[in-house]
Each structure stands twice: as C-alpha cells, then as structure tokens.
C-alpha cells in the first residue's frame, strides 16, 4: 500500500506538486490521470525515491520513505519515463545486474530471471543483446528489471506510450494478474480509455494537486458527465476555458 500525504515539490520557485494526498491500496490499480505537466511524473519520481520532496510524507507498506528509504525502496518496483537498457548486455544480463543490485543471491537470481522472462514472454530474447530491440521489447525488459525483486508495490509512468496494440493488451493483462496477486499498482496516464479499462481507482491531478479521486463511475456521477473524458475536462479545465 502506498500513502501520500501533503506532498510538495518546487523547481526553481515554481510549484510542480502542491499539497497532494492520496492512498493506493493493495490488490488494486490506482490510476494517476492528468494533462501534460499536471505533476504525475514528479509525483511518481518522489514516490520512487528518485526526487526529494520539499514537504509531505510518503509511506510504502507503512514505512516512511524519508525515515527508512532503503527498506521502503526495496518494497517498490518502478518503471518511470527513463527506460534505457544496456545495449551491450543481453536481456538476461540486464535483469541479473538489477537483481544483484537489489541484493538477490546468485543461486535464487537464476531461477527468478527465468520466472520473469516467462511472465513477460521474453524467453526467445533472453540471450540476445538488447541493442536493436523494438520499443515493446525494451519496455518489457525495463518492466522485468522493475519486478525482478518481486516488489509488493509497482509504479508505472505512462508505460504504454509508443507501444502497439498487442503489446498494450499484453501489458494490461499482466497488470491485472499482478493486481489479482495483491500487488499495489500505481499507473499514470493521460489516455482516458486506458485508465477506464484498467484502473480500480482514479486520482485526477491538475496543477500539481488532487482535483478528484474515486472510481471512474464515481467521477462521472460527481460531475454529472456521461463519460470519463467529460468528467476529466470538468474537473481539470477552468470553466472560462471550457466556455471558449
């Protein structure tokens, strides 16, 4: 479970995230929905521990990220916007490197890599160097390295960007299986259909703060909208801008 309370972050005096709070429970996919520049990526970077917040609290499975960063990060897997791989290493070697960095002993690591390759359908690419991999293949390897240590919480920042339809469907299936196993998944996107199809809870972020949260149906009901797109516009775009 991931709990975020009153999170704040500024870049050169400009507030990117201000007083943002939400809770992502176990066994559910929580979608962070927002326009470009709304603060989704900054929020995910702070939850992952890559960015230091200027204020607020983040707890991962009850552990404070600021007080127990190592233990908290060990419970977290993250596939953020940086998906680079090591092109001179094979898929298996890329995964092994991150497994070792996460402290998995070599004897267990071999078995775990085979397991991850199997989950992601990467068996045929296991011993190929990652140079020249397609966008979808690269995303799968990056996801594999994020889950190599079997984290109980997973952060994904717009993971379907640039992927073809079969790969997106494969990823959705995988995330649903992880949710069914009780894993807490936070998934950011600005693609409304994707959020509707996948997420159990939606947190709408606008101008660095939470504009609304609930299930997709609850958001539609609250804004008296017939679909999520209309609800999203009602919640995030100022009324005078809608009138234009």
């Amino acid at each position: 479970m991931i709990e975020v309370e009153h999170l704040r972050k500024e870049f050169r005096g400009v507030a990117a995230v201000r007083d943002l709070s939400f809770r992502a429970p176990d066994g559910a996919i929580t979608g962070l929905l927002g326009s470009n520049g709304a603060g989704k990526t900054t929020t995910l970077r702070m939850i992952s521990g890559a960015l230091q917040p200027h204020g607020g609290q983040i707890r991962i499975d009850g552990l404070s990220l600021s007080q127990n960063p190592l233990q908290a990060q060990q419970r977290l897997g993250a596939l953020l916007d940086h998906m680079g791989l090591y092109p001179r290493l094979t898929t298996r070697e890329n995964l092994a490197y991150f497994g070792r960095m996460r402290g998995i002993p070599d004897t267990r690591l071999r078995h775990r890599i085979d397991e991850v390759l199997d989950i992601l359908g990467l068996g045929a690419l296991a011993d190929r160097r990652t140079t020249g991999f397609s966008q979808g293949e690269r995303m799968k390897v990056a996801l594999g390295r994020a889950i190599i240590h079997s984290p109980r919480n997973l952060l994904l920042d717009e993971p379907t960007n640039g992927l073809d339809v079969p790969t997106v469907r494969g990823l959705r299936g995988l995330l649903q299986r992880m949710r069914d196993e009780g894993i807490c998944v936070i998934f950011s996107s600005h693609v409304l259909e994707e959020v509707r199809a996948l997420c159990d809870n939606v947190v709408v972020i606008a101008q660095g703060t939470v504009a609304a949260q609930g299930t997709a149906d609850e958001l539609c009901l609250r804004t008296r909208s017939s679909n999520l797109e209309e609800a999203f516009v009602q919640l995030t775009v100022p009324k005078e801008a809608i009138a234009c």
Partner: protein, 258 residues
Amino acid sequence: MLNQALIIARKELTDALRDSRSIISTLLYCLMGPGIVFMVSTTMNGKDGADSVLVGMMSVFVLVSAFSGGMNVAMDILAGERERQSLLPLLLTAGARRHVILGKWAAICCFSTASLVLNVVAFWLALRAHFPAPANAANSVLLWAAGLIPLALLAAAVELAISTVCRTLKEAHTYLSMLVFVPTTLGMFTVFFPKLAAGWGRIAPLIAQQWQVEHWWRGTGISILPTIASGVVTALLAALSLCVAARLLERDDVVYGG
C-alpha cells in the same frame, strides 16, 4: 553496501570490454606515444642530446596515457548512461549515490592503470636499445605505488566528475578531450622548463610524476619522501574529485538534466 560498488564495477568492466571500438581507440592512444618516440629515436640515433629529448617525450606520453586510458569508459559510464536513460533506474536500486560513483570509478581506474602499464611496457620495448631497463627494483615499486597508480586514480576520478555533469556522450567527449590537453601542455612545459619540477613541483600532481618517470628511466634514482608526498597529494585530489562527483549526482538537475 560496498557490495553494490563491486557489482557496478564488474558490470561496467564487462560492458566496456565488449565495446571493441572504444578498446581499439584506447589501445591506439596508448601505443601512439611509444610509436612516435621510437621513430624519433631511430632518426636521432647517435646525435647529441638525443637521450634528453627521448626521455622528455616519453614522460609526457606516460602522463597522457593515464588520462586517455579511461577516457572512453568515463564518458560512457555516466554521461552515456544518462543519455540512454538508464541512470535513473540504476539510482533507484542503489543504496547511496556514492556507491554508484565508487563502482564506476573503480571500473575507469582499471582502464587508466592498464593503459599506463601497457604504455610503459611499450616504451621499454621501443627504447631498450637506448636505455637499458631500469634495474633498481625498489625505485620501480616506489614509482608505481606512490607515483603512477595514484596518477591513474586521479585521472579516473576527474574524468568521472566531468562525465557526471555532461548530459550527452558528445558533450562528455568534448570536455574529456580537452582534459587530455592538461597533462600534454603541463608535460611539454616541464620538459622545456625543468626548474618547475624543483621545490613544490616535487609533490604537485603530474609535474611530480613526470619528474619521477624521467629519473626512473635514466636510472638516477627517485627520492622516497617527495614521491610518497606526491602520491598522497594526488590520492587526496582523487578523493576530492570523487566527493564532488557524488555530491553532483545528488542534484536533481544533474540526474534529470533539467
């Protein structure tokens, strides 16, 4: 947690050894000096002052090899990592950023030290007709332990610190290529103005090592205390450069390039 630094160093070595273009380029840089000095030695054979010219040239190339040996690895290891967007995932797994710096520095050190060893061995093969091998084993141990190895550690640390602030491989290549001019220019200056190597010059990085190499090659002996002092100063500077690199890697604008 030091274990993480070792894991990073091992991975970086494996990665760098598979980059054949970079290895060939490093080898060519490393053997260029002995090749040039060998040609000069054949044309100057028997002429007055030939030995001084050869030793002077050789000492400059030895300094340069410490920097050129790790240059390609240094630019790929951090600026390259940022450019291909694999730095952030790595930082999410590492306990402390100083471990990342330590691991990457260890990998660069292997290359800069190997380059120095290869360079000196190639000089010995190229110039053994002019200068019999320096026979004093104590001098040789002193030169390597307190002179040349600290120089390789310093070169690797400075290169890593520069690579840390560069956003792309191209940017790192530009700055690290300019860095190689420091030992080249300073070395040439000391050849023409040898008085620079007297007094404080005996413990100043680069100047001290050049003086040590020249005297070792001539077989005239190296003073123990100034050599050890220069080694300590050089190692301290390397440690300072590593601290700077680790501090830089804590900064958001350095990690994200924003």
